[in-house]
Subunit: 196 residues, 2 copies
């Protein structure tokens, strides 16, 4: 299903058609596509080229591994994400390797990397649904995430399914229109709140 | 100048050719392009669709405004960013509007929005150089950024210049190859440090 953004100004197709499905089709993501998604993440910008992003991945084909990763999500997310062909955790390393000082933008830069991943996915006809609702300490225990690094998000990757094929709860969410506040509410000029 | 990433797996052109120039050409960015860049940011994903991103913009044509925004950068960034045709601050709102609870992923989601902006820019032949080196409290004072929101990054937008036309300090940085750690160092499977 295509849910084009109702844009006020023209944007690239891979931005306009991105949305976050709750219902995934029963279709695997190829190894080649998956590698290209993380390759796109790899080439994001980061402060001092620190590359503070890390990802932990499991595909549904790896039953045990998939169940472990799924268990790091809050229940409300597990309920739909269990049907995604690929799950990942996005993990930020919060200190600079060269001097161990705090990296104030580590989580921001994880967002840049995942943004690249999402754009690459959309351009390939794949869909991504990111989640903040995760069990961070569970993820740390299961994967031995070291002190100084922290799971920030989970990411479901796959093909959007036909909403009509899903239970009402999922169908309604996937059919809901995409809404955003207008630029005048967040793009400012001379002062906070003054539209640019 | 094109500095294509040396990728290990194929990725979209707008990801592969993105880099962060220090030297900008003397060429304005059109109002239409600028609106489309922030429109791309607008349609990013965010936790609970909070859209915690805000931007403050000044173009070099607005002399006074541009000088004010430039003054929010650390000196090392002012030295080259003063030649960019457009500067912006990226500001995250750190609490959810609906319940005033902390938004743990606000800064991450600002990264997603700016990632969209950067992808849109690259697809249009524009270049973006993001900076963490800013004077956050100065930005708060100058723009009356409210408590609960915080300037996180600065963003220079424009056309990359010909490196040969710039002083050695800028030329060397712009001619340096783009380097990234390999996927095995940040894409993990069963456990932290185990390549996927």
């Amino acid at each position: 299903m295509i849910k084009h953004a109702k844009t006020e100004h023209p944007i690239q197709d891979f931005v306009a058609k991105r949305w976050s499905p709750y219902g995934f089709a029963v279709r695997d993501v190829s190894e080649a596509d998956l590698r290209s998604l993380f390759e796109a993440a790899r080439w994001a910008a980061s402060s001092f080229n620190e590359q503070p992003w890390n990802y932990i991945i499991a595909t549904r084909a790896q039953e045990t591994e998939f169940a472990r990763l799924l268990s790091c999500l809050v229940e409300a997310n597990q309920s739909w994400a269990k049907a995604a062909p690929v799950l990942a955790l996005g993990v930020a390393t919060l200190h600079f390797k060269r001097n161990n000082k705090p990296n104030r933008v580590a989580i921001h830069d994880l967002g840049l990397a995942t943004g690249n991943l999402v754009a690459e996915a959309t351009a390939r006809g794949l869909w991504v649904h990111q989640m903040a609702g995760i069990l961070r300490e569970r993820a740390r225990e299961i994967y031995a995430i070291p002190a100084g690094s922290e799971a920030v998000t989970a990411i479901a990757i796959g093909y959007a399914g036909d909403p009509e094929a899903f239970p009402e709860e999922i169908r309604e969410r996937d059919l809901a229109p995409r809404e955003r506040k207008p630029q005048r509410d967040f793009v400012f000029g001379a002062s906070w709140g003054d539209p640019f």
